[in-house]
Subunit: 306 residues, 2 copies
DNA sequence: CAATCCAATAGGAGAAAGCTATCAAATGCG
DNA sequence: CGCATTTGATAGCTTTCTCCTATTGGATTG
């Protein structure tokens, strides 16, 4: 690819020193080598760039113009190297993160402070999608990493973030709302459960719970957001099935809200930061996961006691 | 100089095709060569740029960023080549022209039309200086070329433009002002001659004329411009010695002005476009001189008749 | 299970870029 | 004037880089 970066560098050295010999010394090269490269450059471009005389070297108008441009180009190459160096040690640039809508809005705000401190050059691009779409888009390269349930994503590596548990939320006048501690599956027997629409991971889990508890998932009221489900529940439409992060963060905000932990292995799900097993970002993503883990621990500390 | 332009090109090809093999075909290179160069680039920068998988290649965030920058850099190299190509055939960019103050203001305006048509990319930077300064600054590289008298500039090549002759200009009531044709040196005998200050070529010539004609050069009234000399002459201070271009162009404008050609070999001087004999612009400057020659011929056509 | 596809690896050939030594011209100094 | 110095160009040789063909290894597909 002519002219070469090296040739440009040599030409600039001549512009700066005014002599072939000094220019060669400046760039740590022998004078004949530099002469040859400059001659090569002139031949390749078909223009005289340097005027040789006994008193040294002087640039032609064309040479001056090319030096001006070459300086810009070399500086941009340096910038490129600097950017790469930043990216070497830490995450930087745009990282496309896919996240479950039952997690993202509650976990990420908690983590932003830490993230900014730990990865100042990182620009997160976040998108909420259903589990099934997360997987497809991760494999297609539209996401660099996702926050989801590892078992739904083949050919991936992951770092565990936290274990999500489920909560039941009933209307105030409901019998379920009277107690305080965890409830058993049997307590849900015969009830109508409210959950998100199809394709969401939460929906699949709710189906399992319903089957195990002898309950039914409401087909009429499939919510499009957790807030919608909670509101429907408050209006008497049924028992809302809510995941940890939402339940705890909303419960903290709304003291009147009555939630009860469902105490059963089926109502647990591991949440992890997940990436393609071919991704070279693995090590960086591990430290990202540490930040996220810390944030989730803080959000879930009430759960540990309860 | 790492990374190389070629390496950047290869990385871009991967970004565009999504596969090493296709990228190699795109840039007319074997797949192993491209693989090696990209690997070299990654090693040199210390960052993973490409995520390899069985389904092809995918860029990391760092890779995307570098591709963005590399595209800019490659385009600027193309621009540089294009600029060089323009400069190859014709004069272009800034050409620093030094010119005698007795010539520049009269010759150059006449030539501008032709110059623009012939060298559209040329930006003339003109500076008027005394002969002695022209020479010094030409040698020092502050000028690419000058318009002057060849015999005053050693180590130069030149292209003849025209032969300048001298005119005598006397006050209206003067005896010299009565005739019309050329005058002989004897007509100046005993007169006081007006000319430019020291260091100007015209001054030296006027000294010669004075010596040969038995005249004196006024030491009191050394003009700083030809207009000043002419005015002083009109006020009765002496006989102004004026060169062709000024005399003819002003005579054309001011019909009442009386000028008479001095008919003697000593009152001639060759004017040429001059450049260092080491200048690679020689051929281009020859075509520049053709334009200037044409302009001067037009200005001097009255002289040919008279 | 064979066929196919993709990237990495191996080994060798050619080009490119480097170096030392030398030359030719010109300048500078005694 | 003459000799030492400085300048860029040239010559010859060595090293490094770049590329190519051929092959391997792993994974996907019919």
């Amino acid at each position: 690819m002519r002219p070469t970066l090296r040739q440009m560098q040599y030409l600039i050295a001549i512009a700066e020193t005014g002599k072939f010999g000094d220019a060669a010394r400046l760039v740590n090269v022998s004078q004949p080598s530099l002469s040859a490269q400059v001659a090569e450059m002139e031949a390749g471009l078909g223009v005289a760039l340097v005027e040789r005389s006994r008193r040294g070297a002087m640039l032609t108008p064309a040479g001056e113009e090319l030096v001006r441009r070459a300086r810009i180009i070399l500086r941009e190459v340096e910038d490129l190297k600097a950017v790469a160096k930043l990216g070497r040690t830490e995450l930087s640039g745009r990282l496309r993160l896919g996240v479950l809508p039952t997690i993202g809005p509650y976990l990420l705000p908690q983590a932003t402070g830490d993230l900014r401190a730990r990865f100042p050059a990182l620009r997160l691009s976040v998108r909420e999608e259903r589990t099934i779409d997360l997987d497809e888009h991760l494999q297609a390269g539209l996401f660099d990493t996702v926050i989801s349930t590892p078992e739904d994503h083949p050919d991936t590596e992951y770092a565990h973030l936290f274990t999500e548990r489920l909560y039941a939320c009933a209307p105030p006048e409901d019998a379920l709302a009277e107690g305080d501690g965890p409830i058993q599956l049997e307590h849900l027997s015969g009830r109508e459960l409210l959950t998100l629409g199809e394709g969401h991971r939460l929906s699949a889990i709710a189906q399992n719970i319903a089957a195990a508890a002898g309950a039914a998932v409401s087909s009429e009221y499939e919510g499009t957001s957790l807030d919608a489900i909670r509101l429907m529940s408050q209006m008497g439409a049924g028992v809302a099935i809510l995941p940890s992060l939402y339940a705890l963060s909303e419960a903290r905000r709304d003291r009147g809200m009555n939630i009860r932990l469902i105490d059963h292995p089926i109502a647990r799900r591991d949440i992890a930061l997940i990436w393609r097993d071919t991704s070279p970002l693995a090590t960086s993503l591990h430290s990202l996961s540490a930040c996220l883990q810390k944030a989730s621990a803080k959000l879930l500390e009430r759960e540990a006691k309860g």
